[in-house]
Point group: C2
Chain length 182, copies 2
Protein backbone atom coordinates (compact mmCIF):
# COMPACT_ATOMS: atom_id res chain seq x y z
CA UNK A 1 0.00 0.00 0.00
CA UNK A 2 3.07 2.23 -0.13
CA UNK A 3 1.79 3.83 -3.34
CA UNK A 4 -1.00 5.77 -1.70
CA UNK A 5 1.40 7.30 0.76
CA UNK A 6 3.83 8.27 -1.95
CA UNK A 7 1.35 9.49 -4.53
CA UNK A 8 -1.03 11.55 -2.49
CA UNK A 9 -0.47 13.83 0.49
CA UNK A 10 -3.76 13.13 2.30
CA UNK A 11 -5.16 9.66 2.40
CA UNK A 12 -8.77 9.54 3.54
CA UNK A 13 -10.67 6.28 3.29
CA UNK A 14 -14.38 7.13 3.02
CA UNK A 15 -13.58 10.74 3.82
CA UNK A 16 -16.51 12.19 5.70
CA UNK A 17 -16.29 15.77 4.44
CA UNK A 18 -19.20 17.29 2.52
CA UNK A 19 -17.67 16.81 -0.93
CA UNK A 20 -16.84 13.16 -0.54
CA UNK A 21 -20.29 12.38 0.82
CA UNK A 22 -21.79 14.06 -2.22
CA UNK A 23 -19.54 12.06 -4.49
CA UNK A 24 -20.48 8.89 -2.69
CA UNK A 25 -24.20 9.55 -3.08
CA UNK A 26 -23.82 10.50 -6.71
CA UNK A 27 -22.11 7.21 -7.47
CA UNK A 28 -24.12 4.90 -5.27
CA UNK A 29 -26.96 5.57 -7.69
CA UNK A 30 -24.77 3.94 -10.34
CA UNK A 31 -23.94 1.00 -8.07
CA UNK A 32 -20.42 2.29 -7.38
CA UNK A 33 -18.69 1.88 -4.04
CA UNK A 34 -16.02 4.40 -3.12
CA UNK A 35 -13.05 2.42 -1.85
CA UNK A 36 -10.55 5.25 -1.66
CA UNK A 37 -11.15 8.99 -1.60
CA UNK A 38 -7.98 10.95 -1.93
CA UNK A 39 -7.29 14.64 -1.98
CA UNK A 40 -4.12 16.22 -3.24
CA UNK A 41 -4.04 20.03 -3.09
CA UNK A 42 -7.70 20.37 -4.01
CA UNK A 43 -7.65 17.61 -6.64
CA UNK A 44 -10.00 14.69 -6.02
CA UNK A 45 -8.67 11.30 -6.98
CA UNK A 46 -10.96 8.43 -6.24
CA UNK A 47 -11.00 4.71 -6.75
CA UNK A 48 -14.42 3.11 -7.03
CA UNK A 49 -15.50 -0.48 -7.24
CA UNK A 50 -18.72 -1.37 -9.02
CA UNK A 51 -20.74 -4.56 -9.19
CA UNK A 52 -22.96 -3.18 -11.96
CA UNK A 53 -23.07 -4.83 -15.37
CA UNK A 54 -23.52 -1.65 -17.35
CA UNK A 55 -19.94 -1.90 -18.59
CA UNK A 56 -18.47 0.08 -21.48
CA UNK A 57 -17.18 -2.73 -23.69
CA UNK A 58 -14.72 -0.52 -25.54
CA UNK A 59 -13.14 0.57 -22.26
CA UNK A 60 -12.97 -3.07 -21.19
CA UNK A 61 -11.31 -3.97 -24.49
CA UNK A 62 -8.71 -1.23 -23.95
CA UNK A 63 -8.07 -2.53 -20.43
CA UNK A 64 -7.53 -6.08 -21.75
CA UNK A 65 -5.33 -4.70 -24.56
CA UNK A 66 -3.20 -2.95 -21.93
CA UNK A 67 -2.13 -6.32 -20.46
CA UNK A 68 -1.72 -7.92 -23.90
CA UNK A 69 -4.75 -10.23 -23.87
CA UNK A 70 -6.05 -11.54 -27.18
CA UNK A 71 -9.04 -9.52 -28.45
CA UNK A 72 -12.43 -11.18 -28.31
CA UNK A 73 -15.59 -10.26 -30.25
CA UNK A 74 -17.49 -7.60 -28.24
CA UNK A 75 -20.81 -9.39 -28.84
CA UNK A 76 -19.42 -12.45 -27.09
CA UNK A 77 -17.89 -10.38 -24.31
CA UNK A 78 -21.34 -8.85 -23.73
CA UNK A 79 -22.92 -12.32 -23.54
CA UNK A 80 -20.21 -13.54 -21.17
CA UNK A 81 -20.80 -10.57 -18.86
CA UNK A 82 -24.58 -11.08 -18.98
CA UNK A 83 -24.08 -14.73 -18.01
CA UNK A 84 -21.52 -14.10 -15.30
CA UNK A 85 -22.87 -14.27 -11.77
CA UNK A 86 -20.65 -11.45 -10.48
CA UNK A 87 -18.69 -8.79 -12.33
CA UNK A 88 -16.47 -6.26 -10.57
CA UNK A 89 -15.13 -3.10 -12.17
CA UNK A 90 -12.52 -0.78 -10.68
CA UNK A 91 -12.67 2.86 -11.78
CA UNK A 92 -10.27 5.73 -11.33
CA UNK A 93 -11.80 9.18 -11.27
CA UNK A 94 -10.26 12.61 -10.88
CA UNK A 95 -11.66 16.08 -11.56
CA UNK A 96 -11.28 15.57 -15.30
CA UNK A 97 -11.99 11.97 -16.20
CA UNK A 98 -13.28 8.56 -15.17
CA UNK A 99 -11.48 5.44 -16.39
CA UNK A 100 -11.97 1.67 -16.10
CA UNK A 101 -8.73 0.37 -14.58
CA UNK A 102 -9.70 -3.05 -13.23
CA UNK A 103 -12.04 -5.95 -13.92
CA UNK A 104 -12.90 -9.46 -12.80
CA UNK A 105 -15.91 -11.75 -13.17
CA UNK A 106 -17.16 -15.08 -11.89
CA UNK A 107 -19.38 -17.76 -13.37
CA UNK A 108 -21.46 -19.67 -10.85
CA UNK A 109 -24.41 -21.95 -10.21
CA UNK A 110 -25.41 -19.20 -7.72
CA UNK A 111 -25.37 -21.53 -4.68
CA UNK A 112 -22.43 -23.98 -4.46
CA UNK A 113 -19.56 -23.25 -6.85
CA UNK A 114 -18.02 -20.27 -8.58
CA UNK A 115 -15.07 -19.81 -10.93
CA UNK A 116 -13.32 -16.45 -11.29
CA UNK A 117 -12.10 -15.35 -14.75
CA UNK A 118 -10.47 -12.37 -16.44
CA UNK A 119 -8.79 -10.72 -13.44
CA UNK A 120 -6.97 -7.59 -14.57
CA UNK A 121 -5.60 -4.28 -13.26
CA UNK A 122 -4.25 -1.71 -15.74
CA UNK A 123 -0.41 -1.74 -15.69
CA UNK A 124 -0.29 1.94 -14.60
CA UNK A 125 -2.21 0.97 -11.46
CA UNK A 126 -0.64 -2.41 -10.68
CA UNK A 127 1.28 -3.06 -7.49
CA UNK A 128 -0.83 -0.58 -5.53
CA UNK A 129 -3.19 -2.94 -3.72
CA UNK A 130 -6.01 -2.68 -6.25
CA UNK A 131 -5.77 -6.27 -7.50
CA UNK A 132 -6.17 -7.39 -3.91
CA UNK A 133 -9.12 -5.03 -3.38
CA UNK A 134 -10.74 -6.37 -6.57
CA UNK A 135 -10.26 -10.01 -5.50
CA UNK A 136 -11.40 -9.33 -1.93
CA UNK A 137 -14.56 -7.74 -3.32
CA UNK A 138 -15.39 -10.67 -5.63
CA UNK A 139 -14.82 -13.12 -2.76
CA UNK A 140 -17.07 -10.99 -0.49
CA UNK A 141 -19.82 -11.00 -3.14
CA UNK A 142 -19.60 -14.78 -3.59
CA UNK A 143 -19.45 -15.47 0.14
CA UNK A 144 -22.47 -13.18 0.59
CA UNK A 145 -24.35 -15.63 -1.67
CA UNK A 146 -23.09 -18.43 0.60
CA UNK A 147 -20.99 -19.99 -2.16
CA UNK A 148 -18.47 -22.30 -0.52
CA UNK A 149 -16.35 -23.45 -3.47
CA UNK A 150 -14.64 -20.41 -4.99
CA UNK A 151 -12.19 -21.45 -7.67
CA UNK A 152 -9.98 -20.04 -10.40
CA UNK A 153 -7.26 -21.01 -12.84
CA UNK A 154 -4.07 -19.04 -12.30
CA UNK A 155 -1.32 -18.37 -14.81
CA UNK A 156 1.97 -19.49 -13.22
CA UNK A 157 3.24 -15.91 -12.72
CA UNK A 158 0.21 -14.93 -10.61
CA UNK A 159 -0.14 -18.03 -8.40
CA UNK A 160 1.58 -16.20 -5.55
CA UNK A 161 -0.65 -13.15 -6.04
CA UNK A 162 -3.73 -15.36 -5.53
CA UNK A 163 -2.04 -17.10 -2.57
CA UNK A 164 -1.89 -13.73 -0.81
CA UNK A 165 -5.66 -13.33 -1.33
CA UNK A 166 -6.23 -16.71 0.37
CA UNK A 167 -6.36 -19.13 -2.58
CA UNK A 168 -4.53 -22.44 -2.40
CA UNK A 169 -3.37 -24.82 -5.15
CA UNK A 170 -4.45 -28.46 -5.47
CA UNK A 171 -6.08 -28.85 -2.01
CA UNK A 172 -6.24 -32.58 -1.09
CA UNK A 173 -4.70 -33.29 -4.48
CA UNK A 174 -7.66 -31.83 -6.43
CA UNK A 175 -6.30 -30.93 -9.87
CA UNK A 176 -7.47 -28.25 -12.24
CA UNK A 177 -7.93 -29.78 -15.70
CA UNK A 178 -8.58 -28.41 -19.19
CA UNK A 179 -10.10 -30.19 -22.12
CA UNK A 180 -8.09 -30.35 -25.30
CA UNK A 181 -9.16 -32.17 -28.46
CA UNK A 182 -7.44 -35.54 -28.61
CA UNK B 1 -16.81 -51.66 -23.27
CA UNK B 2 -16.45 -55.34 -22.34
CA UNK B 3 -19.54 -55.08 -20.13
CA UNK B 4 -21.99 -54.82 -22.96
CA UNK B 5 -20.60 -57.93 -24.55
CA UNK B 6 -20.73 -59.87 -21.31
CA UNK B 7 -24.09 -58.67 -20.02
CA UNK B 8 -26.28 -58.81 -23.09
CA UNK B 9 -26.43 -61.25 -25.97
CA UNK B 10 -27.29 -58.73 -28.70
CA UNK B 11 -25.69 -55.34 -28.73
CA UNK B 12 -27.45 -52.94 -31.09
CA UNK B 13 -26.50 -49.28 -31.07
CA UNK B 14 -29.54 -47.33 -32.31
CA UNK B 15 -31.19 -50.60 -33.28
CA UNK B 16 -33.28 -49.96 -36.36
CA UNK B 17 -36.04 -52.48 -35.69
CA UNK B 18 -39.64 -51.31 -35.23
CA UNK B 19 -39.61 -51.50 -31.44
CA UNK B 20 -36.49 -49.51 -30.91
CA UNK B 21 -37.63 -46.79 -33.31
CA UNK B 22 -40.85 -46.50 -31.34
CA UNK B 23 -38.90 -46.25 -28.11
CA UNK B 24 -36.65 -43.60 -29.61
CA UNK B 25 -39.58 -41.46 -30.73
CA UNK B 26 -41.32 -41.81 -27.40
CA UNK B 27 -38.29 -40.50 -25.56
CA UNK B 28 -37.17 -37.82 -27.97
CA UNK B 29 -40.31 -35.94 -26.91
CA UNK B 30 -38.83 -35.90 -23.39
CA UNK B 31 -35.45 -34.70 -24.69
CA UNK B 32 -33.87 -38.13 -24.23
CA UNK B 33 -31.29 -39.56 -26.59
CA UNK B 34 -30.99 -43.32 -26.84
CA UNK B 35 -27.30 -44.16 -26.63
CA UNK B 36 -27.61 -47.90 -26.31
CA UNK B 37 -30.54 -50.16 -27.16
CA UNK B 38 -30.01 -53.69 -26.00
CA UNK B 39 -32.14 -56.77 -26.25
CA UNK B 40 -31.69 -59.88 -24.18
CA UNK B 41 -34.19 -62.69 -24.83
CA UNK B 42 -37.07 -60.26 -25.37
CA UNK B 43 -36.10 -57.91 -22.53
CA UNK B 44 -35.35 -54.33 -23.54
CA UNK B 45 -32.53 -52.68 -21.66
CA UNK B 46 -31.74 -49.19 -22.75
CA UNK B 47 -29.39 -46.43 -21.73
CA UNK B 48 -30.54 -42.90 -22.47
CA UNK B 49 -28.81 -39.57 -22.13
CA UNK B 50 -30.86 -36.43 -21.53
CA UNK B 51 -29.96 -32.76 -21.61
CA UNK B 52 -33.31 -31.77 -20.11
CA UNK B 53 -33.48 -30.01 -16.76
CA UNK B 54 -36.70 -31.64 -15.59
CA UNK B 55 -34.72 -33.75 -13.11
CA UNK B 56 -36.22 -35.70 -10.22
CA UNK B 57 -34.28 -34.27 -7.28
CA UNK B 58 -34.95 -37.26 -5.03
CA UNK B 59 -33.52 -39.61 -7.64
CA UNK B 60 -30.51 -37.32 -7.99
CA UNK B 61 -30.06 -37.32 -4.21
CA UNK B 62 -30.12 -41.14 -4.20
CA UNK B 63 -27.54 -41.21 -6.99
CA UNK B 64 -25.23 -38.87 -5.04
CA UNK B 65 -25.83 -40.93 -1.87
CA UNK B 66 -24.76 -44.04 -3.79
CA UNK B 67 -21.22 -42.63 -4.23
CA UNK B 68 -21.09 -41.25 -0.68
CA UNK B 69 -21.39 -37.53 -1.45
CA UNK B 70 -22.51 -35.20 1.34
CA UNK B 71 -26.23 -34.36 1.10
CA UNK B 72 -27.16 -30.88 -0.02
CA UNK B 73 -30.46 -29.03 0.47
CA UNK B 74 -32.76 -29.91 -2.46
CA UNK B 75 -33.81 -26.27 -2.83
CA UNK B 76 -30.20 -25.33 -3.47
CA UNK B 77 -29.67 -28.29 -5.79
CA UNK B 78 -32.67 -27.06 -7.81
CA UNK B 79 -31.18 -23.55 -8.02
CA UNK B 80 -27.78 -24.94 -9.03
CA UNK B 81 -29.38 -26.98 -11.83
CA UNK B 82 -31.41 -23.99 -13.00
CA UNK B 83 -28.23 -21.91 -13.15
CA UNK B 84 -26.08 -24.55 -14.82
CA UNK B 85 -25.53 -24.05 -18.53
CA UNK B 86 -25.62 -27.75 -19.34
CA UNK B 87 -26.91 -30.69 -17.32
CA UNK B 88 -26.62 -34.28 -18.53
CA UNK B 89 -28.56 -37.21 -17.06
CA UNK B 90 -27.98 -40.88 -17.84
CA UNK B 91 -30.98 -43.18 -17.45
CA UNK B 92 -31.30 -46.95 -17.42
CA UNK B 93 -34.62 -48.34 -18.55
CA UNK B 94 -35.86 -51.89 -18.87
CA UNK B 95 -39.37 -53.31 -19.28
CA UNK B 96 -40.14 -52.59 -15.64
CA UNK B 97 -38.43 -49.41 -14.51
CA UNK B 98 -36.51 -46.27 -15.40
CA UNK B 99 -33.70 -45.12 -13.17
CA UNK B 100 -31.31 -42.15 -13.04
CA UNK B 101 -27.83 -43.69 -13.05
CA UNK B 102 -25.58 -40.82 -14.13
CA UNK B 103 -25.29 -37.07 -13.88
CA UNK B 104 -23.00 -34.16 -14.71
CA UNK B 105 -23.43 -30.42 -15.09
CA UNK B 106 -21.45 -27.38 -16.21
CA UNK B 107 -21.51 -23.73 -15.24
CA UNK B 108 -20.57 -21.34 -18.01
CA UNK B 109 -20.60 -17.80 -19.31
CA UNK B 110 -22.22 -19.43 -22.40
CA UNK B 111 -19.48 -18.28 -24.81
CA UNK B 112 -15.87 -18.62 -23.57
CA UNK B 113 -15.46 -20.74 -20.45
CA UNK B 114 -17.18 -23.64 -18.75
CA UNK B 115 -16.51 -25.65 -15.60
CA UNK B 116 -17.87 -29.17 -15.15
CA UNK B 117 -19.14 -30.25 -11.70
CA UNK B 118 -20.80 -33.23 -10.02
CA UNK B 119 -19.79 -36.00 -12.43
CA UNK B 120 -21.22 -39.30 -11.21
CA UNK B 121 -22.17 -42.78 -12.42
CA UNK B 122 -24.03 -45.16 -10.06
CA UNK B 123 -21.58 -47.80 -8.70
CA UNK B 124 -23.65 -50.63 -10.22
CA UNK B 125 -23.04 -49.12 -13.65
CA UNK B 126 -19.43 -47.94 -13.28
CA UNK B 127 -16.63 -49.29 -15.42
CA UNK B 128 -18.97 -49.88 -18.36
CA UNK B 129 -18.14 -46.86 -20.52
CA UNK B 130 -21.01 -44.71 -19.24
CA UNK B 131 -18.82 -42.15 -17.46
CA UNK B 132 -16.98 -41.64 -20.73
CA UNK B 133 -20.28 -41.35 -22.66
CA UNK B 134 -21.51 -38.78 -20.11
CA UNK B 135 -18.32 -36.72 -20.35
CA UNK B 136 -18.19 -36.98 -24.15
CA UNK B 137 -21.77 -35.69 -24.26
CA UNK B 138 -21.10 -32.70 -22.00
CA UNK B 139 -18.01 -31.80 -24.05
CA UNK B 140 -20.06 -32.10 -27.27
CA UNK B 141 -22.73 -29.79 -25.85
CA UNK B 142 -20.16 -27.20 -24.75
CA UNK B 143 -18.23 -27.39 -28.02
CA UNK B 144 -21.53 -27.00 -29.88
CA UNK B 145 -21.83 -23.61 -28.12
CA UNK B 146 -18.29 -22.86 -29.32
CA UNK B 147 -16.90 -22.78 -25.77
CA UNK B 148 -13.13 -23.15 -26.01
CA UNK B 149 -12.08 -23.34 -22.35
CA UNK B 150 -13.67 -26.44 -20.81
CA UNK B 151 -12.39 -26.97 -17.28
CA UNK B 152 -12.99 -29.09 -14.20
CA UNK B 153 -11.50 -29.90 -10.82
CA UNK B 154 -10.66 -33.59 -10.47
CA UNK B 155 -10.32 -35.57 -7.27
CA UNK B 156 -6.91 -37.30 -7.36
CA UNK B 157 -8.41 -40.78 -7.91
CA UNK B 158 -10.23 -39.69 -11.10
CA UNK B 159 -7.51 -37.60 -12.77
CA UNK B 160 -6.65 -40.52 -15.06
CA UNK B 161 -10.35 -41.06 -15.89
CA UNK B 162 -10.55 -37.45 -17.14
CA UNK B 163 -7.22 -37.85 -18.97
CA UNK B 164 -8.82 -40.60 -21.06
CA UNK B 165 -11.64 -38.18 -22.00
CA UNK B 166 -9.04 -35.68 -23.25
CA UNK B 167 -8.51 -33.43 -20.22
CA UNK B 168 -5.01 -32.39 -19.19
CA UNK B 169 -3.64 -31.08 -15.89
CA UNK B 170 -1.92 -27.71 -15.41
CA UNK B 171 -1.41 -26.85 -19.13
CA UNK B 172 1.40 -24.26 -19.48
CA UNK B 173 1.63 -24.29 -15.68
CA UNK B 174 -1.94 -22.97 -15.19
CA UNK B 175 -2.96 -24.02 -11.68
CA UNK B 176 -6.42 -24.73 -10.33
CA UNK B 177 -6.89 -22.81 -7.08
CA UNK B 178 -9.51 -22.79 -4.32
CA UNK B 179 -10.29 -20.02 -1.90
CA UNK B 180 -10.07 -20.81 1.78
CA UNK B 181 -10.61 -18.28 4.57
CA UNK B 182 -7.25 -17.09 5.84
C1 LIG C 1 -2.38 -9.98 -11.32
C2 LIG C 1 -2.87 -8.56 -11.11
C3 LIG C 1 -4.39 -8.50 -11.23
C4 LIG C 1 -2.45 -8.09 -9.72
O1 LIG C 1 -2.99 -6.80 -9.48
P1 LIG C 1 -2.17 -5.69 -8.64
O2 LIG C 1 -3.07 -4.51 -8.45
O3 LIG C 1 -0.87 -5.47 -9.29
O4 LIG C 1 -1.96 -6.48 -7.28
P2 LIG C 1 -1.85 -5.83 -5.81
O5 LIG C 1 -1.08 -4.56 -5.89
O6 LIG C 1 -3.20 -5.75 -5.18
O7 LIG C 1 -1.00 -6.95 -5.07
C5 LIG C 1 -1.47 -7.65 -3.94
C6 LIG C 1 -0.35 -8.49 -3.40
O8 LIG C 1 0.07 -9.44 -4.38
C7 LIG C 1 1.43 -9.20 -4.76
N1 LIG C 1 1.50 -9.37 -6.21
C8 LIG C 1 0.98 -8.59 -7.17
N2 LIG C 1 1.23 -9.09 -8.38
C9 LIG C 1 1.94 -10.22 -8.17
C10 LIG C 1 2.49 -11.20 -9.01
N3 LIG C 1 2.35 -11.13 -10.34
N4 LIG C 1 3.16 -12.22 -8.44
C11 LIG C 1 3.29 -12.31 -7.11
N5 LIG C 1 2.77 -11.42 -6.26
C12 LIG C 1 2.11 -10.39 -6.79
C13 LIG C 1 1.73 -7.78 -4.35
O9 LIG C 1 3.10 -7.64 -4.08
C14 LIG C 1 0.88 -7.63 -3.11
O10 LIG C 1 1.52 -8.23 -2.00
P3 LIG C 1 1.43 -7.55 -0.55
O11 LIG C 1 -0.01 -7.68 -0.13
O12 LIG C 1 2.37 -8.38 0.28
O13 LIG C 1 1.87 -6.12 -0.73
C15 LIG C 1 -2.24 -7.59 -12.14
O14 LIG C 1 -0.82 -7.67 -12.01
C16 LIG C 1 -2.61 -7.86 -13.57
O15 LIG C 1 -3.65 -7.40 -14.04
N6 LIG C 1 -1.76 -8.61 -14.32
C17 LIG C 1 -1.97 -8.86 -15.74
C18 LIG C 1 -3.17 -9.72 -15.99
C19 LIG C 1 -3.06 -11.10 -15.35
O16 LIG C 1 -2.02 -11.75 -15.42
N7 LIG C 1 -4.17 -11.54 -14.72
C20 LIG C 1 -4.25 -12.82 -14.07
C21 LIG C 1 -4.64 -13.90 -15.06
S1 LIG C 1 -4.76 -15.50 -14.27
C1 LIG D 1 -15.51 -41.29 -12.15
C2 LIG D 1 -16.73 -42.00 -12.75
C3 LIG D 1 -17.75 -40.95 -13.18
C4 LIG D 1 -16.28 -42.84 -13.94
O1 LIG D 1 -17.42 -43.40 -14.56
P1 LIG D 1 -17.38 -44.88 -15.20
O2 LIG D 1 -18.68 -45.11 -15.89
O3 LIG D 1 -16.97 -45.82 -14.16
O4 LIG D 1 -16.19 -44.70 -16.28
P2 LIG D 1 -16.05 -45.46 -17.70
O5 LIG D 1 -16.47 -46.85 -17.52
O6 LIG D 1 -16.71 -44.67 -18.75
O7 LIG D 1 -14.48 -45.35 -17.88
C5 LIG D 1 -13.87 -44.71 -18.97
C6 LIG D 1 -12.39 -44.98 -18.94
O8 LIG D 1 -11.83 -44.45 -17.73
C7 LIG D 1 -11.29 -45.50 -16.94
N1 LIG D 1 -11.65 -45.20 -15.56
C8 LIG D 1 -12.86 -45.24 -14.99
N2 LIG D 1 -12.81 -44.88 -13.71
C9 LIG D 1 -11.51 -44.59 -13.47
C10 LIG D 1 -10.80 -44.16 -12.33
N3 LIG D 1 -11.41 -43.90 -11.18
N4 LIG D 1 -9.46 -43.98 -12.45
C11 LIG D 1 -8.85 -44.22 -13.61
N5 LIG D 1 -9.47 -44.62 -14.73
C12 LIG D 1 -10.77 -44.81 -14.65
C13 LIG D 1 -11.91 -46.77 -17.43
O9 LIG D 1 -11.06 -47.85 -17.20
C14 LIG D 1 -12.12 -46.48 -18.89
O10 LIG D 1 -10.91 -46.67 -19.58
P3 LIG D 1 -10.89 -47.31 -21.08
O11 LIG D 1 -11.57 -46.27 -21.95
O12 LIG D 1 -9.43 -47.47 -21.35
O13 LIG D 1 -11.67 -48.58 -20.96
C15 LIG D 1 -17.38 -42.97 -11.73
O14 LIG D 1 -16.40 -43.90 -11.32
C16 LIG D 1 -17.95 -42.28 -10.50
O15 LIG D 1 -19.08 -41.82 -10.52
N6 LIG D 1 -17.18 -42.22 -9.39
C17 LIG D 1 -17.65 -41.69 -8.12
C18 LIG D 1 -17.91 -40.20 -8.17
C19 LIG D 1 -16.64 -39.41 -8.53
O16 LIG D 1 -15.58 -39.67 -7.99
N7 LIG D 1 -16.80 -38.43 -9.44
C20 LIG D 1 -15.73 -37.56 -9.88
C21 LIG D 1 -15.58 -36.38 -8.95
S1 LIG D 1 -14.26 -35.29 -9.46
Amino acid sequence: MAFWKKFFKNINMFNQDKNSINIKKEYLAEDLILIKHLENQGNHNDIYISTGKNINLYELEQLCDSVGWVRRPLKKVKLAIDHSFVTICVFYKNNKSKKLIGFARATSDTVFNATIWDVVIHPNFQGKGLGKALMDQIVIQLRYSDISTITLFADPHVVSFYRRIGFITDPDGIKGMFWYPR
